[in-house]
Symmetry: C2
Subunit: 456 residues, 2 copies
């Protein structure tokens, strides 16, 4: 941490730029920004600054660059890899006040949103215009557009629409020298140079500060059906999802396992979803302009064996079916501070991985609780392990090595952050990491943005 | 051009790397690689080298880097902006021999293809496996996967699937230092670092040499219907396409104009498509698992005014309807060497642009022939101007300035190449161009790859 004199001068300059109300230095107030919500990641910031416009962001960047103080951009602080947790002495650049939302452009089915707009507010806004935003995730009330761009957020609908990068038509961003790159015209085709929006998407705040995004919207479907299906295991879930993809308007396919559902029920008081304790439970949701119930029912009836299924079409009943899936996270956190390992497997290796990873974790961390769930259509499993100390890397290391052996990815949608950068070379070659390091150096030669995140 | 002694030593080293049969130095043989197919762009290469493997590409890059000779990567040489035409003395690195095609991965609906695979061969290969490749364009018999990645090719189906970047799950590429970056595992979600595949897509050979790509595939639809529709003008076409997008399984929407159709008919001997000479003719194609004819017919019948329409479902009849559109290019080339100006407008400005650009061209280049056609669902118009000398920039300048005034893009899908780099700053700010120049410097500090292309 820099000396007290430096703190004052920097704070004074920032107050002059954004106003005293938006420079936070009280340790009690800052505490909420310094710690991630799982409690696994904790840092110490010099101060928190909350600019209200893109021009103010540019001023903040220039002020910090001039004195060589690092910047940690932060949105809803719902990340899971410590990517928005500060190193000692860094300034947290909080983007929550950049919350402007343009009217929905119905001709292009796009909207421009400030970095600080929450996903829930974006969904409400475009829903009122008769459209939907294709990305949805459980942290929707807190997660922001800027954070979702910076982390290339995935979520529940990737199998139909792709992740955040697929929705980003353009961005506005402040560069390390305070310059502003603005690509918000919303052109569907634009081959005039390198894809800066796509590059910033997923760069985890290490290259520039994303201040706004031009986003693609999807149809708001009038009809939606959700089904919860009891199955013998992950192979059966994969087979069923493959069939549903071609036969129905599938929008989500989430997998859970018996031991995880037990924990959810114990923590939340929810009843068991079925009288039988199935090893694997699949939640699927279809959405379409015309009622998708018949297509889903026909596809389920055509399954080789009869399936135990609960189906809902009305909003409250659908939310009820989702509750077993969505309350996994809080149930895991209630046990202790989790290691949240978010991995992708090639679809063909997913079942083998799931059967191998449980005994592996038991061997590395005897007595730990393992809860697995995930987005089965994307090959994405969330492996949650509670029991080892937060700073014990043994479980992470073992799981990531198993992932690499299956040619998977050590981060499906959470990113690398501080949590995984020590393992980046498991699946990225030295040439690949060198290319990424060269990009970092090109954008941020002074190491201003989010030092200690992503690159080794 | 370097001295003769240098030529010999370089050629000898390249012969040692790839074999004598694959180093071309005969001026007559090289001529076909030095000139683009429109005839507007012509260069002079030192030699043409045709490596057969990724390792050989890396060797070629290292050999050229060691002696400081520039490299121009070339695929099917169907580009339209001079992006594969060499500066004096450069080596053309032709990728046609990297033509391996992996078996289609049916589980993930993906395939890995070498840079030299033509689009037509890729389409045949994945079609035999019951899938389709989402990008299609008229140059399909020559255009290659590597060139399509490097230029982020667009084409006929962007309104449904997006362009090439949307299909690229991963790439293999040779960097300027001869290192090889390989991301071909085909993971649907992978947030382990910067999006190098997306960055290389559309980089026009200026950052690295793309040697292979992992590509997303789409369903191969059993049913397809094509309609040719006579309309009063572009506003009517835009309205109709907006309605067809929501009501049908629309896959292509191409617009032509009366004067262009006249030229096509005069050059090819095709009859006029309708007894009435409509100002604007729209071609639409729908494709689906179940027959889309009824949906299309219902949507057309619901139009405010009766429409003059020709419809076809069988392959040969559909090809007949496409012929007016697909033969535009050869008809234009038959008149003379065209200025091919490929631009995007925001959908709301497209009709105004089309009505303004014709008198503008007539003023700047009196007597020139202007033929406009394009992908109307994407806001993409191809403005072809024949009459001015190939090196007369007056028309290009006037059209690009009109595009910029409408907040459009001076390149929708062709790229910048040599043709448009003087105008890049019309729609890209100094900060934006500086960020792109920094990326170029990071990847290729010696200026080895495609000097004179893309950046000012």
């Amino acid at each position: 941490m820099a000396g007290a004199g430096g703190v004052d001068l920097l704070a004074e300059q920032l107050v002059a730029a954004v106003g005293a109300a938006h420079v936070l230095t009280d340790p009690d107030v800052m505490a909420g920004f310094e710690r991630d919500w799982t409690g696994r990641w904790q840092g110490r910031a010099r101060l928190v600054v909350r600019p209200g416009t893109t021009a103010e962001v540019a001023q903040v960047v220039q002020i910090c660059a001039a004195v060589g103080v690092a910047i940690v951009p932060q949105g809803g602080n719902t990340g899971l890899v410590g990517g928005a947790v500060p190193d000692a002495g860094a300034v947290i650049l909080h983007l929550g006040r950049l919350d402007h939302l343009d009217p929905v452009d119905l001709t292009s089915a796009q909207v421009t949103a400030g970095a600080g707009v929450t996903l829930a507010r974006l969904q409400d806004h475009v829903g009122a215009a008769g459209l939907a935003f294709p990305v949805d995730l459980a942290a929707r009330d807190s997660a922001t557009v800027g954070g979702m761009v910076a982390t290339n957020a995935g979520g529940l609908h990737v199998l139909r629409y792709g992740g955040m990068r697929s929705q980003v038509v353009g961005v506005e961003a402040v560069m390390a020298n305070g310059g502003i790159v603005r690509r918000l015209d919303g052109l569907i085709k634009d081959n005039t140079g390198y894809d800066l929006p796509g590059l910033l998407c997923g760069s985890e705040g290490t290259l520039a500060v994303v201040t706004a995004a031009r986003l693609r919207l999807s149809p708001l479907f009038a009809h939606r059906v959700t089904a919860l299906i009891g199955l013998e295991g992950l192979p059966a879930a994969l087979d069923l999802v493959a069939r549903l993809r071609t036969l129905t308007s599938l929008e989500a396919a989430e997998v859970m396992f018996a031991s995880g559902i037990d924990i959810v029920c114990a923590h939340t008081g929810l009843p068991a979803p079925f009288p039988v304790r199935y090893p694997c439970v699949l939640l699927v949701e279809c959405a379409a302009a015309t009622d998708p119930v018949d297509d889903l029912a026909a596809a389920l009836l055509a399954a080789p064996e009869p399936l135990d299924t609960a189906v809902a079409t009305a909003g409250a009943a659908r939310a009820g079916l989702w509750s077993w899936r969505e309350r996994h996270t809080e149930a895991v956190n209630a046990i202790g501070v989790p290691h949240k390992l978010d991995v992708t497997l090639p679809l063909g290796s997913m079942a083998a991985f799931e059967s191998e990873v449980r005994p592996l974790i038991e061997k590395v961390a005897p007595g730990a609780t393992t809860v697995i769930f995930g987005h089965v259509g994307d090959g994405n499993l969330h492996v949650n392990v509670v029991g080892p100390a937060p700073d014990d890397d043994g479980v992470d290391d073992a799981v990531f090595r198993l992932v690499a052996a299956h040619h998977g990815s050590i981060s499906a949608e959470h990113g690398i952050g501080r949590a995984k950068r020590g393992w980046l070379d498991l699946t990225r070659s030295a040439d690949d990491i060198a290319a990424m390091a060269a990009i970092k150096m090109a954008f941020d030669p002074g190491g201003l943005f989010n030092p200690g995140v992503l690159l080794p």
